[in-house]
Amino acid sequence: MTAQREPHGGQPGSRVATAPDAEQSSRLTVTIDGTTLRGVAVDLRSWSIDAEDAAAAIRGRTGTCTVACPHPGSLFDAVGVVEPSLNVSLRRVLAAVARRRGYRADVVDELRSVSAELATLSPPDCDRSEQRRQVAAAGTDEAKLAERVATIRGELQARRDAGVDVSATEKRLSDAVAALTDARTERLSAEQALDRAREDSRPPRDRRDRRLRLQDRKRNLERAIRRELADAVYNEFTAAVWRVPGESDPGRSVVEYEGDGVTAALAVLRMLRTATPAVLAVDRFDGPERAAHELGVPILRV
């Protein structure tokens, strides 16, 4: 399977602007406490602004520091803030880059149809606890009454043996037997109701079965799509890795990548060349401006 580029390239509706060429990043304007700073890179280290504040400003939060820049896309969350402890889910990120490049995986249509079927599958409820409770309660009532009948029978026999009047005991016995008969009927009908409910549970369970199979299929397809898309841009990623500072060996595919998240993030930034700035909290470049030029992305150094 090979991911293919769409005829016109680019993702429709993408709000991420791309810098005109690799070595030239867009300029950015940062305002801190009324002071305006402009340039391809702005060094915020002398201000008390950390990576989190800078990222929030890029995302549009207005506070001490505001940044005038295009709205960040989803990849900003993954690689937009380069800190020493950064973890990059490389396959996911490269798949997103490939999507932005207009690549489309072979199995996208299948994924769409699986998702469409999943959306129609909402299995009805199959809680049968009320029916089970009724069966259990009816069973207990019946057992109590059966015990009562046996006790009265014993009493009746004892009274007969003693030759005393049994009419009241006989009446009690016949009442108890009648109650037992009713309880038995009730228990049987509760059991039948539960049996019917169990039968009725089958179609909803079949739907749940189908839903689980589709959910698994969907996850597998999504994984396959990410793999395919990441493969489609891996050569480009490899080239970027060699151009950014770091000790990583990209290998030939995502699974072979040996290196740190920072290098991977820098390489992805270099691939993207967005007009949205990146926040840099690592010491890999000879100054923020150098970083901006090498990555082709405006830089906020914190």
Partner: protein, 114 residues
């Protein structure tokens, strides 16, 4: 034993977690289903799963299967004879016709009773 079958990704994952934490209570793991020992702990685990995942968890109770007390001799013999048939491609319906073995339709409608 207590049979627990799961019907969603979340329920299946919880079942896996439960299984790895309570191996001593598990009689058998069968993918997204499990047989718990019939103890209060087994019941507790099954109920906990159902409490968390509702209808995505099915709980049933299994009983030992004794073919000698539960299954009529004719059925046991039919199974034996069919497995000893000379042509493997013969269906049971075809195999049975003209013999004294029970018809599949009759087997289908006949519930087992102790």
């Amino acid at each position: 034993m207590i049979l627990v079958v799961t019907y969603s990704i979340g329920a299946r994952q919880t079942l896996r977690n439960v299984c790895s934490a309570h191996e001593e209570t598990i009689a058998r793991r069968l993918g997204r289903a499990v047989l718990f020992e019939e103890t209060e702990l087994g019941a507790f685990l099954a109920l906990r799963l159902r409490e968390k995942h509702g209808c995505d968890v099915q709980v049933e109770r299994t009983r030992p299967f004794n073919e000698f007390s539960l299954v009529p001799e004719s059925v046991r013999e039919a199974a034996q004879a069919y497995e000893a048939r000379s042509t493997p491609s013969t269906s049971y319906a075809k195999f049975q016709s003209g013999t004294e073995h029970p018809h599949p339709r009759d087997l289908h409608g006949q519930e087992l009773t102790e």
